[in-house]
Symmetry: C2
Subunit: 437 residues, 2 copies
C-alpha cells in the first residue's frame, strides 16, 4: 500500500518542498524556567517505526493536586478511561506522574487495551516508588495519568514501553533540554515541539507554570505549576483555561478518541494553599490560561499543512452560543480554509458559513472585515450587509501575510467569541492521506 | 492576486495533470428521451470571464405545476427569494420557465440584487409571452423560477443576461443537444454536465422525466416531467425525492446561499391529473426519486477533485436521526476523506467520526466493513468493537477501486441511512483555493 500511496502522494510532497510553507522553527522555545519539584524526560522506546522519541514521563516526588479534561468521543481510548478513573478514585489528589506515549493510541482495543494501560501505569509507579516523598510513600492508590496518540485499533507494545520507562526514568531532570525531549516525545504529525513556561510574581514569592502540547488530529497537552493549588481550584482553573484555549481552536473539526489535557500542581514553591477565594487565585488562573492559550495557538500554527494563522473574531452576537457556533463554523469550513490558502479575499464563503451556522443572523446588520497582522488599516469587505468595493491589491497584501484576523460583527447583540484556525493546504491532504502507512 | 495564486497553486495543478483523476467523461449521457412540451437551450452570455456557457432557459408553453426546495442558509440569494415568492404567489401553478445563470450568484446584493433578479424574470416573460399557450396568455402572474451560481456579492450584468436571454430563446428546442447545452450552462467548477432522462410506462401511456444538476459548492438542479401531476403531489414527490437524493450527499458540508432544486410538471403527455391517491403516483414518484438520486450521485462523482465515490451505509441505529447524523458526520470528515484519497484503510478515523457524531453509540456493538464495488468479498475491519487483523493487500485492492461502500452497523436498533460522498484530494484544495480569481 505504501507504494500505491507513494505514487498518489509523493509527487505533490516533492512540489511542496519548494512551496510556501512558513518557517516554524521560530516557534520552538530556546530556553525556559520550569516549576520546582517536577522531573521530566522523553526517549525513543521503539514504538514508532522511525527512531523518533515516543515516550515521556513527568514525575513529581511530591503528590500533586490534578485535573484533566478528556475527549467527548463515544469511543474513549483506554488511557482516557484509566486516567479518568484514577482522578475520580483519588479525588483529584495524590498524582505523581504523567506518562505519554506516541505512535499507538491504544484506542478501540477493548479490555486488553485497558489492561495494557494499567500495566504502563503500574510499571511507572513501581519504578518511581523510591523517588516519592516520604509523605507519599504510604499511599498505594494509583498515581499516574496516561495519554496516548497514534494509530487506532492497535495494542501498545508493552515490553518496549516498559523498557522505555526504565530508560526515561534513569535520566530524569528539570533542565530545558529535559523538558524539550518530553515535548518532542508527544509529537506525531507535529513539525515542531510545543513547550512554554512562564512565571507569576506574587507578593511574597514567584510561582512558575510550564506545559507542552501536540496536535492536531489528536490533541494532547499538560500544564503544571509549583503553586499550592487546592483540588477544587485546580478544577476551576483548568475549566477556565480550556474554554479560552483548546476549546477555541480548530484544525479540521474532528474530535479524537484520545484528546486529553491535564493540569497538575505540586506546591513545591511553598506558600499557603490557593483556593478560589485566595488573592493569588486570579493571577495564577490567568497565567495558566495564557499559557494554555499560547500552547493551543502553537497547535493551530502547526496544523497539518498550515501556512496561515487565522484569528476568527465574532462580535455582536445575540447570545454566547451564537457567537461560539459562528466562530467554530467559520473555523471549520473547508471552503473558507482553502480560500485562505489561495490568499483569495472570498468573503462570500465566510458569510456563507455564518449563514448556515444555525445562529440568529440579520443579513442587513452583518459586517465582515480583514484586520491585517502588521497593524495596517482594516479592510472592510461587508458593512451592514452591503458588499464594499474591495481593493484587490490591498486584499492580496493582507492575505499574503502569515497571520490574519477575520472580524465578523453580527450586529445583533453584545456577545463575542474568538477562535483560532489555520488554512487548508495541499499538505493537509498529503499528511493525512498517508498518515497510517 | 492571480499571479500570487498562480505561484502558490499552479505547480500542484500541473502535477495533478499526471495524477490519478479517473476519467469522468463516461458519466456524460450521450442521448436521451425528453418530456413533451419543454423547450430548452443554453448559451454563453459573457457573464463568465471565459467563453463558457453561463445562461440557460427551460420553457413550457403550457403552464406547469411546480415546487422547489431552497437553501436554509440565512443569507438567501436574490433568485432564491424571488423564486420562493413566485411559487407562493402562484400556489405552485402557472410556472412557464426556469432561468439559470452561472458565474454570478447574485447573493448578498441587497435590494439591488432583488431588482436585478425580477428584471431577469420579467425579460424572460416578455420574450416568451407569444409562445405561451392561449390558456396561459391571460395570466399575468410572474411565471419564472430563477437560479444563480457563482461569486457572492456581485450584481449580475443585466445587459449581458438580457441579450443572452434573447439569443437563448431564438434557438430553443427539445433535442439531446439542446438539453446538453443547458446542462453545460449551469456548471461552474463541474468537470462534466449532469443530464439524465428516463421513461415511466403506465397502463395507457408513457411519461418521461428529465433533469440536470450542478455541484458542488453550490447545488443547483431541476427535474421536469410531462405527466399531469397535481400541485400537492408535485410538492410531496419533490420532498420524497430530495430526502433520498440531494439531502443525502456530501462534498464538504458547506451550504451555499443559492442551493435550489426545482420540479416542474406540465402534463403535456396527457392523462388524468395525478394526485397522491392515484395509481400512477408511486411509479412516477419513484421514477423521479431515482432520477434525482442519480443526478445527486453525479454531483458527488464530480465533487471538486474527487477521485473516489464512497457510499456510507449506516445500519442498526437507535433512531432515524442517529442513522442520519452518523452517515453525514462520516461523509463530512476531512480525516476520513483524505484517508480515502490516500487509499488508507484507516477505519479508526471512520469510528472516530461515529464517536463524535453525537449519536447513541455502543462501542462493543459497533462494526465497520468495506464492501468492494466489484462484488468481491466484504472486508471486515471492526466486529462488535473488536478490531480485525486486516489483510492490507486486500484492503489496498479494495481501496484502489474507484468506488467503495463503507458499512457501519451500530448494533443499537433497526434504523438505517445511506449517504454518498467523495474523497478529499489535492485538487479539492487547488480548485477551491483559486476559485474566485
Amino acid at each position: 500500500m505504501r507504494n500505491k500511496l507513494f505514487s498518489r502522494v509523493a509527487a505533490y510532497g516533492r512540489v511542496r518542498l519548494v512551496g510556501t510553507m512558513p518557517d516554524k522553527t521560530k516557534f520552538i522555545s530556546q530556553k525556559g524556567t520550569y516549576p520546582k519539584g517536577f522531573l521530566i524526560n522523553g526517549v525513543s522506546s521503539g514504538v514508532k517505526a522511525n527512531a523518533k522519541k515516543d515516550l515521556m514521563v513527568l514525575f513529581s516526588p511530591t503528590p500533586c493536586n490534578a485535573a484533566a479534561v478528556f475527549t467527548k468521543n463515544a469511543f474513549q481510548a483506554a488511557p482516557v478511561q484509566v486516567s479518568r478513573n484514577v482522578l475520580q478514585g483519588n479525588g483529584g489528589t495524590g498524582i505523581h506522574a504523567v506518562v505519554v506515549n506516541s505512535g499507538c493510541a491504544n484506542a478501540v482495543t477493548g479490555e486488553g487495551g485497558i489492561r495494557d494501560a494499567k500495566a504502563i501505569a503500574k510499571a511507572t509507579e513501581e519504578l518511581t516508588q523510591l523517588h516519592k516523598d516520604s509523605s507519599a510513600k504510604k499511599d498505594n492508590l494509583p498515581s499516574t495519568l496516561l495519554m496516548s496518540t497514534g494509530v487506532i485499533g492497535q495494542r501498545p507494545k508493552l515490553d518496549k514501553i516498559k523498557q522505555g520507562l526504565a530508560i526515561t526514568l534513569k535520566d530524569m531532570g528539570s533542565s530545558h533540554q529535559h523538558w524539550m525531549r518530553a515535548a518532542e516525545a508527544i509529537c506525531t504529525t507535529d513539525t515542531f515541539p510545543k513547550l512554554l513556561s512562564k512565571q507569576v510574581k506574587m507578593a511574597d514569592r514567584v510561582y512558575t507554570v510550564a506545559g507542552a502540547s501536540k496536535g492536531a488530529a489528536t490533541l494532547l497537552g499538560f500544564f503544571v505549576t509549583d503553586a499550592p493549588i487546592a483540588p477544587d481550584a485546580v478544577q476551576s482553573i483548568l475549566r477556565h483555561a480550556i474554554t479560552n484555549s483548546f476549546n477555541s481552536i480548530s484544525i479540521d473539526g474532528d474530535t479524537s478518541t484520545n484528546d486529553t489535557i491535564a493540569f497538575l500542581a505540586n506546591g513545591a514553591a511553598g506558600g499557603s494553599e490557593i483556593t478560589s477565594s485566595s488573592a493569588e487565585y486570579e493571577p495564577i488562573r490567568d497565567a495558566i490560561t495564557e499559557l494554555a492559550q499560547d500552547l493551543a495557538k502553537l497547535v493551530v500554527r502547526d496544523g497539518e499543512g498550515a501556512t496561515k494563522f487565522v484569528t476568527v473574531q465574532v462580535r455582536g452576537a445575540k447570545s454566547v452560543q451564537d457567537a461560539a457556533i459562528v466562530a467554530s463554523t467559520i473555523s471549520n469550513s473547508a471552503l473558507v480554509k482553502t480560500a485562505f490558502f489561495g490568499e483569495d479575499a472570498n468573503w462570500g464563503r465566510i458569510l456563507c458559513a455564518v449563514g448556515y451556522s444555525g445562529a440568529t443572523v440579520n443579513p442587513n446588520a452583518t459586517s465582515v472585515s480583514f484586520v491585517p497582522a502588521d497593524g495596517s488599516e482594516t479592510l472592510k469587505l461587508l458593512v451592514n450587509g452591503e458588499p464594499q468595493n474591495i481593493d484587490e491589491t490591498r486584499a492580496s497584501e493582507i492575505l499574503a501575510q502569515e497571520e490574519l484576523t477575520v472580524d465578523i460583527d453580527l450586529g445583533s447583540g453584545s456577545f463575542e467569541k474568538t477562535n483560532w484556525t489555520c488554512d487548508f493546504s495541499y499538505d493537509y491532504v498529503r499528511i493525512n492521506a498517508d498518515y497510517r502507512s
